[in-house]
Amino acid sequence: MLLLSRLWSEAQPVVAAMIAGAVVDFQHSEDLVSQVAETVVMKFDDYDRSRPFTPWALGIARNIILRHYERRAGERLVFFDDRILSAMAIAQEQVAGESAERLAAMQKCLAQIKGKTRRVMEMRYLHGLKPAAIGHSLDMTTNAVWVMLHRGRDAVSKCIGRTLMAAEGEGTA
């Protein structure tokens, strides 16, 4: 079980990111990550230990996302089919190793986001509100909220890029 614990710890952020891309509602995506975790534990004896674990977990995630879509077929949901999800699982695995420095830089860069933009981003990411609900709360149009989110994320993203470039420069000095 220690092995499972270790493997799942490595795979979980990758799985969570893939699900976040396919199911944008935070509550739903977190429920799905839980379902993947439970399935991974239940099916762990079936896992071929000679093969990488994360792609196996991503395959489970793909199936669970598809079932989620099927159950909620009548709702206006993001919809990716099996082929798309499979491609995304492969891509997610490919970029998994890039994220460590980015997350460290993100913590620093997020601190630079202040005022209303920060508030909107917290409402979106911390409290899981959709842009329409944020707009209703702050007396803004949905589009204005989206623009603010877009600019906030863009600022964080650019800051991360600058931070990583600076770190690379320090490392070679």
Binding site: V14, F80, M88, V95, G97, L110
Partner: protein, 492 residues
């Protein structure tokens, strides 16, 4: 992906597809696409590997954004479940005698999870002091967030549905809402002094300083003395521990099974109230109570935690180099990754993770190591690695003796942690164990022992032993480590 949310042409594919992809993807993560547009976006991403990777990076970016904001929220102490109380009133029963055998997830690995990195536990504990400053800005002065009414005390092989939950718990926080433990065991310590060892799969939520809500799974609850109380609320009943020990389990049918192993408890529900005494077991549902003696017979193997028997280790030498810290001298310990010993069987003591990089060794009344918080949001530490050879299945015990100094008290959620990692021949960590001890509010200038014991998994060839400080971004707060020992039990 220099700017994940910034419209720009993608390499590969024609410009029209690239423009359309940008139009769609920038609105996708806010839920502003129709199902048809989403499918179009997916098709555009899936047909171009570069675009697929870009989409994957954006997914990771949004996931990290949410995780980071949550983490900052926890650090800023704004969580509504963070119950404030004055330092000194916080009692943690039995921490100085933390002798139970545990194997569990490591703080370093949880951090690795948080940053999305596999297999960097050794390095992760020393990462990024720059990020610590950004979080520290939200934490005025010393640690501002008081401990919640229940904290993680130890863990064995725990797998969380959401690894951020594990991260929060290891920082001494208590995430809001029901917590889903997929597998393994954790021990939660309540402000009342009671403990609950919860066995996954389980869904639970500490709901008060003396109350646990258990929706699914099993828990062994213990109140160490009269005057401590712990209630367990299940869908069928409420069990009140009256200074005793009992096991409660909730099945998928919401039926509650109860076995009392020591003392007595009161149960309310199932049509009334009654006392249940040692050696009795019941199943409780909407129809009432029935005897369930089979559960009592089986419970011994469920969520049972065994104290390490110190006598069995007497014949075995301490395996750490310089267990009494005589040779650490003054100044700084070598950084993690550097050897501090010429002995091939051990690295000697190393340090990492303070806000200024290296743990300082300071004169503290003899040979000892003082681990400072100094704004670190991680776990500054001292550690050494010992080559053990094949010790598959043998019990490994690590004990450290530490104190908090009167002139640099622990506060808030800060605490000391003892931890061991099992390393295989490929230098991979294949298991670990940890226990929290020496928390804020405990007596100052008094050395207490923190001990962990865990069976070495198959393939173990070396063990890393750590003493860490859960610094929690505090500018102040330190622990003094006076000695430590690592022993491996006999196979017989």
């Amino acid at each position: 992906m220099s700017n994940v949310d910034n419209a720009r042409p993608m390499p590969g594919g024609d410009d029209r597809d690239a423009d359309r992809y940008e139009q769609l993807v920038s609105r996708h993560f806010d839920g502003l696409l129709s199902a048809e547009e989403s499918h179009e976006l997916g098709a555009l991403a899936a047909t171009d590997p570069a675009r697929a990777r870009d989409f994957a990076r954006r997914s990771m970016f949004h996931q990290h954004l949410r995780a980071t904001l949550r983490l900052e929220h926890e650090y800023a102490g704004r969580a509504p479940d963070a119950v404030g109380h004055a330092r000194g009133r916080w009692r943690f029963g039995g921490e100085s005698a933390g002798m139970s055998g545990w194997a569990g997830r490591a703080v370093a690995i949880v951090l690795a999870v948080a940053v999305g990195v596999a297999g960097v536990g050794w390095l992760a504990t020393s990462s990024s002091s720059s990020s610590s400053r950004s979080i520290e800005a939200d934490v005025p002065g010393a640690v501002s967030s008081a401990p919640p009414f229940a904290v993680l005390n130890a863990a064995v092989d725990d797998v969380w549905a959401d690894s951020n939950v594990g991260l929060s718990l290891r920082h001494g926080a208590l995430p809001r809402g029901p917590i889903r433990l997929v597998s393994g065991r954790v021990e939660m310590l309540f402000k009342s002094g009671g403990t609950a060892v919860i066995e996954g799969p389980a869904v639970f939520e500490p709901i008060a300083a003396n109350a646990l809500e258990l929706s699914e799974g099993s828990a062994r609850c213990h109140c160490p003395s009269k005057g401590t109380e712990l209630r367990v609320v299940t869908p069928a009943t409420t069990v009140t521990d009256l200074g005793t020990e009992f096991l409660v389990s909730v099945g998928s049918n919401q039926q509650t099974r109860l076995a009392v192993t020591e003392g007595s408890v009161r149960i309310d529900g199932g049509g009334g109230s009654r006392l249940v005494h040692e050696g009795e077991a019941f199943v409780i549902d909407q129809e009432g109570w029935k005897d369930d003696i089979g559960f009592l017979k089986d419970e011994a193997k469920v969520a049972k935690l065994r104290d390490a028997d110190r006598d069995i280790f007497e014949r075995f030498p301490e395996r750490l180099a310089d267990p009494n810290m005589h040779g650490v001298g003054s100044g700084s310990l070598p950084e993690m990754g550097q050897r501090a010993s010429l002995d091939p069987r051990t690295t000697g003591w190393m340090a990492s993770g303070g806000s200024d990089g290296i743990v300082r060794v300071e004169p503290v009344g003899g040979s000892a190591v003082q681990i400072h918080s100094r704004g670190s949001v991680y776990w500054p530490l001292v550690a050494q690695e010992v080559v053990t050879g094949d010790i598959d299945g043998q019990l490994v015990v690590f004990e450290a003796v530490a104190a908090q100094p009167a002139n640099d008290l622990l506060s808030g959620r800060q605490c000391a942690i003892v931890k061991i990692e099992f390393i295989d021949a490929n230098r991979r960590m294949i298991g670990d164990a940890q226990r929290h001890f020496l928390r804020a509010g405990t007596p100052v200038n008094r050395y207490v022992a923190g001990m962990i014991a865990a069976e070495a998994p198959a393939g173990t060839v070396a063990v890393r032993a750590f003493v860490l400080l859960n610094a929690f971004g505090g500018k102040t707060g330190s622990i003094i480590v006076e000695r430590a020992s690592l022993v491996v039990a006999s196979e017989d």
